[in-house]
Amino acid sequence: MNKILLIIKREYLSRVKKKSFLLVTFLVPLFLIGIYAAAILLTKKSFENNQATVHVIDQSGLFQGQLANSKNITFVDVSEDIEQEKATILEGKSKTYLLIIPKDVKESTNVELFSSEVAGFGTQGEIKGQLESVLRIRAFEEAGIDRATVENINPKLNIQPKEITVDGEKDSSAGAAMGIAMTLSVLIYICLFIYGAQVMRGIIEEKNNRIVEVIISSVKPFQLMMGKIIGIGLVGLTQFILWIVLSTALMSVASIGFMDGQHIEASANTQLSTPGDQEMAEAANSKSSAFGNFKQALDTVDFRTIFITFILYFLGGYLLYSALFAAVGSAVDSETETQQFMLPITMPLLFTYILSFGVLINDPNGSLAVWLSMIPFTSPIAMLVRIPFGVPGWQLALSLILLVGGFIFTTWVASRIYRVGILMYGKKASYKELLKWFRYRG
């Protein structure tokens, strides 16, 4: 037992001390935060730079004094000389627009917007919204409904998805669950492969170095194999934990910038909420409430459960697959020879991975999803896809028990192939050969 600890220690330390480990551990959270920060910054910037000046030539006279300046747009009423205005626009600064509202705007429903460069969708949308809003209110007034009544009639609806569980009702969000399910599916798929391949590579290295014979004259092949698997598994766990700690730390730093962004959005909203800009304010409201919904949706997700199940399924899946990777590593002399054995190992994972983006996510409690989340070879992915949607406790328990059984089985099979394989050099192993090794005694 003492010896297996020595092996675990070596496998762990030799990897954690590597520069590449530190690099990946620190760069991945930085990269994620970087994307996050960049997105916020760009949004912020787009607000700041979008200050546009719109010169209005109102031939209809319907909009006099009705168009309100906003955070983004300043409206200026100008003379009626179209050609002169056009020339000004042409030579003028960017972000200056010429809006021509024809006399028959009610009938033709067309206005023209000139600019020296293509007007942004945001600006176009805002101008359109304001114009429509003015026209609508005018139409209501003509129909004998006064402005106050119109403003009071403002139906708004939000769907609040609730899930009925034995514990009572709780908020649920299919969107958030889907997003998280897909993230988990990608994450575990990649992790199983990365760490499984590390086990395989480590074994091929030992076999190529011929150090394996020195070591197994001191310890049992099984101890060496398990020491390696456990050591590399711990490296994986260390990396996850560091990622979470670092991401959380960086997030809290980045959130200062995020608060800034929110502030801008909020101030933009208040500016829009002037009377007569009902539609605009509404749009802005729905935008911020969409954000609220997103936060609300995230709040419904039980991150603790997801984290714990992820760790459990990572460990189970890792132990199951890395044992198989170990057997493959022991059977070959170089990495290029691994392909013929890799295919059947990776098939179930790949199959579930692909399904997870379709069938599993659309029908997380369907019979296919349930079956796949029970079979140990596919459950690490399938179950993690189902988890955000809620999984009955007994299914989770059964799946985990089967997974434990699964990795005990694969470890047993792998160790029997491994103990023979690591001492075989220069022999091209076939499946028949592996079966023979498996049957050797002693």
């Binding site: 010896k3 020595l6 092996i7 070596r10 030799s14 290295e205 030992e206 170095n209 011929r210 150090i211 394996v212 014979e213 020195v214 070591i215 197994i216 004259s217 001191s218 310890v219 049992k220 001492l423 050099y425 023979k436 050797y440 005694r441 002693g442």
Partner: protein, 311 residues
């Protein structure tokens, strides 16, 4: 020290060891000899408990071989290997600790050996930065650092330059003088002949012969001598009942005769006959080398071996 009893090891269709038995005396230097593919490595792996025999037993100091013995055996495999990217000192510590030494003890012993072999500056070097000869030295130290009672060396001198061979040979002999039992395994029989007290010869999975080198050689003595004498105008011819002539040869200055003495006679009788005739320059008994004995054994077994089909 080691009692090997009726070991059989079967790999699918190939029988690597077929009913092999032998004894290794405590404190001796033992040669495990045979051509490539004879089954030497299989036997060593069984002694190292890397594999188990299909039948038969190995006793270590009178006890059935068990995991407690692992720390008392040092093994230098034919295919040398170390972690290329690991520092030498760290690697040595790891290997010594796997053999059951405490960290402190391992550190002390490794330092001692490094001084002895003039390797002190290597501690923080990586294996890949060392020359092949240096790596061999490191590997040798790793084999003996835990002061094993039994040291098994598989083709120990292959890959060493002559200077290092002598250093390693001296160290092995010193270890032997301090009580360690040594097993040499090699197909180059002449390289260990003079070092070994006893040997076992293995060919095609079977033991051909074993015993003390002295006894074996005695058994294979054929009463043959080489006599070198100054040239003489008359050729010496065989004498019935005294000796026969096996071979003649002339060098620039001397004439050489290979003679076999007849049964019941001694070399003194022959000399008594020769001295009045020629001036003797040199006399030497022709003792067969282990290699010759091996060849002789294998060729006498030839009919049987021919029947065996090759895998």
């Amino acid at each position: 020290m080691l009692e090997i009893k009726n070991i059989v090891k079967q790999y699918a269709k190939h029988r690597a060891l077929d009913d092999v038995s032998t004894r290794v005396e405590k404190g001796s230097i033992f040669g495990l000899l045979g051509p490539n593919g004879a089954g030497k490595t299989s036997l060593i792996r069984i002694i190292n408990q890397i594999t188990a025999p299909d039948s038969g037993e190995v006793h270590f100091d009178g006890k059935l071989l068990n995991p407690d013995h692992i720390g008392r055996i040092g093994y230098l495999p034919e295919e040398r290997g170390l972690y290329k990217k690991m520092e030498i000192g760290e690697q040595m510590l790891y290997l010594a600790q796997l053999k059951g030494l405490s960290k402190k003890e391992a550190t002390d012993r490794i330092k001692h050996w490094f001084e002895k072999m003039e390797m002190q500056t290597w501690w923080n070097k990586k294996v890949e930065d060392l020359s092949k000869g240096m790596q061999q030295k490191v590997q040798f130290v790793a084999t003996v650092v835990h002061q094993p009672d039994l040291i098994i060396l598989d083709e120990p001198f292959s890959g060493f330059d002559p200077v290092n061979v002598n250093i390693i040979k001296e160290e092995i002999l010193a270890l032997n003088r301090n009580g360690a039992t040594i097993i040499f395994s090699t197909h180059r029989m002449e390289s260990v002949e003079e070092l070994c007290d006893s040997i076992v010869l293995i060919n095609k999975s079977k033991k051909i012969l074993d015993g003390k080198v002295k006894d074996i050689k005695n058994t294979y003595r054929s009463n043959t001598y080489r006599v070198e004498h100054l040239p003489h105008q008359e050729q010496i011819s065989a004498v019935d009942g005294l000796f026969t002539i096996e071979d003649r040869g002339d060098s620039l200055e001397n004439t050489t005769l290979t003679i076999r003495i007849a049964e019941g006679k001694t070399i003194n009788d022959v000399l008594a006959y020769l001295i009045p005739i020629v001036q003797i320059h040199e006399l030497k008994e022709i003792i067969p080398s282990i290699h010759d004995i091996f060849v002789q054994q294998v060729t006498t077994q030839a009919p049987e071996t021919l029947i065996e089909t090759h895998e």
